[in-house]
Each structure stands twice: as C-alpha cells, then as structure tokens.
Symmetry: C3
Subunit: 203 residues, 3 copies
C-alpha cells in the first residue's frame, strides 16, 4: 500500500519530467506522450522483465496509464512557463529517483534477490527510464557523463541495507533511503560535486 503510493508519486514526477524533455526536442503530441510514458515506466518495466514479473506492473494497474496521460497533459498545458519548468524538471526528476529507488529495492526483496542485486534493481528502476528516454532522443544518456545521479541511488540502497541490521520498520527505512537519495542529489548539484574524473584534466 505504502509502496504503491510512493510508486504513483514517482510516476507523476517522471511523466512530467519526460514530457518536458520531449517538448524541448519539439516532438509532436504523440511523441511527448510516449516519452512521458517511457520515462515513467521504462526503468520499472526493465526491472520486471528481468525479474520475471509479467505482465509488467503498469499493465496490471490501469491507474498508472491514467496518471501518466494526466501528468503529460498537465505538462503540455503549463509548457509556456519555461523558466519555472526548468527548476521543476530538476525537482521532479530528483523526487522521482528517490521514490523509484525504494520501489525497485522492495521489488527485488519480494523476489528474494541478493542485496547487491536489489540495489542494482533500485538503481535501474530509478535511472533506466531516463536512459531509454535519452537514447530515444538520440543523446548519450546524461547519467553516464555528469553529476551524481545513479551514485545517489546506489548510496541510498546501501543505506537501506545497513539500517536493516538495526531497525525493523520497513516503511521508515524506505522513507530514509529515499530521502538519502534525494538529499545527496540536491547537495551534489548545488555544490557541483561530481565523481572524480578518470582522465587528465588537460584535454
């Protein structure tokens, strides 16, 4: 129940973020809808298919479809407040990865997978909708190049499994893990922290 609400909120956040990016690429209304869809359900779909949960989540719960269509429509309607949108985009995206990391970890736990695989599932749920989105928009996925993004999800996942040794209430753990992801990402962006470069700076 708790996880479902989290999942829905993440879906709204990602659908809006996807629609905004598609409009940035000046796609037609159908393209905007599909990119919103792919961004919102891409990571979870990949996760479900790889674990073997089929039909995948959003196909068994028509609510998701309505929520995505509604969110994309909302994004289209408010599209002209661009400057306001850019800040929202970051916000929605950040909330989305926090929520989805938690949903992905929970799905992995239910399927009885190894903690490391659960963290991978959480990270995949959070990040791969964006990877598919960027690939369809013909760009190198942004998460491979810049900023703390997937790293925040991984750290949130590790936090979850460390705290699991000390606490019992899963819901609290999920909230904490999700907040860790969101806070790390916000701090990293605000203070321009990124992973150490592998390359000599002089290029």
């Amino acid at each position: 129940m708790f996880i479902q609400i989290v999942d829905l909120l993440g879906t709204i956040a990602f659908a809006i973020s996807g629609a905004l990016i598609a409009m940035n690429k000046r796609m037609d209304p159908f393209g905007v809808l599909i990119i919103a869809f792919v961004t919102a359900v891409g990571g979870g779909t990949l996760r479900d298919v790889m674990i073997g949960i089929e039909p995948v989540s959003w196909m068994r719960n028509i609510t998701f479809v309505y929520v995505i269509i509604g969110s994309a429509t909302f994004a289209v309607i408010i599209r002209n407040r661009i400057s306001y949108l850019l800040k929202s985009l970051f916000l929605f995206d950040t909330i989305g990865i926090g929520l989805y990391t938690v949903v992905g970890i929970e799905t992995g736990l239910v399927a009885g997978l190894h903690p490391i695989i659960c963290i991978a599932m959480g990270t995949m749920t959070a990040c791969f909708g964006g990877v598919v989105r960027d690939t369809l928009c013909n760009e190198i996925p942004v998460i491979f190049r810049e900023e703390i993004y997937a790293t925040a999800c991984i750290l949130g996942g590790i936090t979850y499994f460390i705290l699991l040794h000390f606490f019992d209430n899963k819901n609290y753990l999920f909230i904490i893990a999700g907040l860790v992801v969101i806070i790390i990402r916000i701090i990293a962006v605000r203070f321009k922290i990124s992973l150490p470069s592998l390359y000599n700076s002089d290029k």
Copy 2:
C-alpha cells in the same frame, strides 16, 4: 489461424521495409538482415516479453525466420529499382502497421488485459519495431516527430473496441480495424495532415 496469416503478411511487409532502410544506410548484408529482423519482430517481441509470453512468438515458429530471411533477400535482389522502392516502402510500412495493430490487440485480449492496454499493445506491436530500427540506425524515431503514424494505430484500436459493442464476428472486426489504420495513414500522408503542433510556428 486468421491472425497467423495476418501476422505473416505483416512480417513480410516490415522485413522488406527494414531491409530497404538498412540498405539506405549502406549497411553490410548482415546488418541488412538484422535490421529486417528487428523491424519485423521488434514490436511483437517487446509486447510478448512485457506480457510474459515466452519464448516470444517468432522463436516458437521457425516459419517467421524463413519468411524474414526470404523477404530481406528479395529486398536485396530488387534493390536497384530505387524510385520504385521508395513508394513500396511506404506501402509495405502502412500495410504492416495495419496488420500488426490487429495482431497486438488480439494478443492483449487473449492475455486478458484491459482494453486501453490492448490498444497500447497493438500500437507497440505496430510501431516499436520501427522505433528500435531507427534507434539502431542512430536517428530519433520518425514516429515521434512527424506525421500521423502511431495515432492511426490508436484510432484503429479504439474503433475495434467501439465496434465490439455492436458486432460479434472478431475476424470482421479485425479486418475493419486494420483497414481503419491503413486508410487513416494513407489519407494523412496524402493530404499532409499531422498532429497539431505544441509550439509556436515561428521557430
């Protein structure tokens, strides 16, 4: 039975369309074969994997493999009649999406999915082979940018479910839904109808 024939015809149409586009990109014979394959089975594979029908259709029916290899070879042999091919490409592609939309809806119905999800499955079956094809050819999928394409599939799917309230014979319904897709696409291309733009025209 009826659906299988429709499926085979769609496969031929899409395999030829894929091979033509791969040759346009001057790929080698293996690349042409793979792109023909991906265009023909990509949408259906994605659909089957997401619904949980595995091994996916074409792997259980070797006929599809022969048909795709044959169609791609045929496309390679007639490759020099370029001007003739461009017109055929449109024709094959349009017939293909009409047929595949119907196959996808039927697959969703058999799996007991919600009508909206069935329409999504039909549209995915019809359009996502092309999306994968364009992505592999390193282009933004054409269906996100121009023309009535997926929209025709969606309208065909809606037609199907509306008529389902009035008629009983599924085969007729499938034929009508497929024709609706094909006719909408032909009319849209001939009269240059596209979805309303979300953007100011002055850019």
Copy 3:
C-alpha cells in the same frame, strides 16, 4: 559446469572491452561500470528474457556481479597503457564472442529451441551486448557496418550443428565451435576480409 567457466571468461573479456570503450568516450566512473556491465550481460539478458529464463542468469549468480566490477576496476587501473589496450580490446572482444556464442547455443538447446533459433541465440548472446553498448554510446552499432563479426558467430553455430551429427561429446563440440568463431574473426580482421558489398563501390 564447463559452460559456467566459459561464461565467466566471456564475462571478463566483455566487461574489460566495455570499460575500455566507455573510457574512450570519457565517461565518469559510474558510466564506465554500467557500460562494462551492459556489454558483459546485455546479450545474455536479452536472450534470457526472450526465452523466458527469469530472473536472468547474472541476477541469480552474484559471482558475475563481482567479476564485472573487478574487471571494470582492472581496466580503469591499467587505462594509461593505451597502445597496449587497443590490441587487448580486439583480443578480449574476439575471445568474448567465441565463448558467448557457445553459451547462447547451449542455452537455446536446453530450452528445446530449433537449431536455427539456437544459432540466433548464440549470435545474439555474443553480439547484442555490443549493440546495446554502441547504442548507449550514441553510435550505429559497429557490427552492422564493418568486418566479419556476427557472421563468425553464425558460422561457428552452423559448425556446431553439423558436427553434432558426427560427434557425441558436447564439451569438445563447444570448444571447436568457439574456436571456429575466434579463428574466423582473427583471419577476417588480419586479411581485411569483409562481407561482399551490396552497393556500387563508386560512392
């Protein structure tokens, strides 16, 4: 058992090859890890998902995860010996496709699939990690454009099924088929053999 060792060796080879290419694209450490991962498990994941083996192999065996992280780290550490790396890249990649072709054929056989589909599964296991890698790096997959690559896998697969009529010991057959793939690829690259072009040379 034998197949598992072959699988692990292929994983090491591909993880290193993926990490090298990601560093070539100057990705950050996380990007390097993910591309190493995708290159190593992408083809097998696609194969497992399409056959219906879920959770997919690497998720059921945490060893793969450790091996990939170790291989990627190793590649990062030795990254400055560039000239040495380029030669190794080819070597690792070639060994990888030989090993993975065999693993893919075996997986198809166990699932009771048609020999042609088994060869397709072998080729997919060997080549599609690279296809996903190139797609994520925003390039037309190299295997569609140049050189004998997938063709070597297909020929190795055909060799396997021909020899199956004469010999009984599967392990030997797998070794021979793998070697056929590796040798064909090495000969093709050394003597610059490629598939016949479909196009007039004057362009």
